[in-house]
């Protein structure tokens, strides 16, 4: 009986093996980049030429909706990806789960910062203020700090395997903030309007506003998936680089 070193197991184990992952994702990057660019082109065309110039509740600032909502959605979606990856790290100790967590954190921080920035600019003409300490805005600011804390934690450790376990625990604890962000507008009185897209009785906005919003959200989500994929591929190579640098340092030490 011989030992077979090829990657076996279910399909997930095969595609998630670092070497296999780097191999199957290589031809995916360029088509994904083209699809993302096309989606953005369509979304911007719809936002400026299909959408009405104003709506009843937000007036002529309607067009900020098309970039604020996708970034707000991604601020939570990216965290969900990180929380799922954190489970992968703690339960299955899968190396690609570590890589996914690390690659997603700076992107999550970026989209959360953009959600706050666009929300603030939207707040001034609609509510008369750039900032209000209401539940949604405060919990989103806390989310940004959690993302920044996670990025800092990754950088604080030389041993990335040890960092992954600590970051995974921190990520899962921080996930408690996500339902607060999501339901804050229902739990507390807020300047924000209640949920108007993902509702049990269907979206509460006309099709000529909803369609550009959904296309823009899809474009931003595809952009995140693309950047996440490329950053994961880079992280796999970076770990190879660190191994080689350690080997070189050990060889130099032996010679000395």
């Amino acid at each position: 009986m011989s030992i077979d070193s090829t990657v076996k197991g279910n399909w997930f184990s095969r595609i998630a093996h670092p070497g296999q992952f780097a191999s199957w994702t290589r031809p995916v990057v360029l088509p994904m980049a083209i699809v993302t660019a096309l989606l953005f082109a369509i979304a911007f065309w719809m936002a400026f030429f299909v959408s009405p110039a104003a709506s009843e509740n937000v007036g002529t600032t309607l067009r900020i909706l098309y970039i604020h909502v996708p970034n707000a959605w991604l601020s939570q979606f990216v965290y969900a990806v990180m929380a799922a990856s954190a489970l992968g790290t703690l339960v299955w100790r899968h190396p690609m789960a570590d890589v996914s967590m690390k690659a997603a954190a700076p992107l999550g921080a970026t989209f959360t910062a953009l959600a706050l920035f666009t929300g603030s600019l939207w707040g001034r003409p609609t509510w008369g203020t750039y900032w209000e300490w209401d539940g949604r805005m405060t919990s989103t600011l806390v989310l940004l700090f959690i993302y920044l804390g996670i990025v800092a934690l990754w950088r604080a450790f030389d041993d990335q395997l040890r960092a992954a376990r600590i970051v995974a625990i921190f990520t899962l604890v921080g996930a408690l903030n996500i339902p607060i962000v999501k339901f804050s507008v229902d739990w507390w009185s807020s300047l924000h309007q209640p949920t108007s897209v993902l509702r049990p009785d269907g979206p509460r906005m006309p099709a000529n506003i909803l369609t550009p919003l959904l296309v823009m959200t899809l474009a931003f989500t595809t952009l995140f998936l693309l950047l996440h994929l490329v950053r994961m591929r880079t992280e796999i190579r970076r770990r190879r680089l660190y191994t080689l640098e350690r080997n070189r340092a050990a060889a130099l030490e032996q010679r000395a």
């Binding site: 700076p106 950047l227 190579r237 191994t243 080997n247």
Partner: protein, 64 residues
């Protein structure tokens, strides 16, 4: 020119801010990749390999 209404300045700043930050995130992703690849190619050109990359010298045969 599209008429953005009386609050055009807020719309322009919002779109401009998002465009700049997204462009920076894309640029950082690409530059980081290039930097890692460059450092890796230098080390690999020096003949450095991971242990798992080296061919095993153990002869094939029935496992014990």
């Amino acid at each position: 020119m599209i008429d953005l209404g009386p609050h055009a300045i807020f719309i322009v700043w919002a779109y401009l801010g998002v465009a700049v930050v997204v462009a920076a995130a894309i640029a950082h992703t690409i530059l980081d990749r290039m930097r890692v690849e460059k450092r890796l190619s230098i080390l690999e050109a020096q003949g450095l390999r991971r242990r798992s990359d080296r061919p095993t010298s153990r002869p094939e045969g029935p496992a014990a």
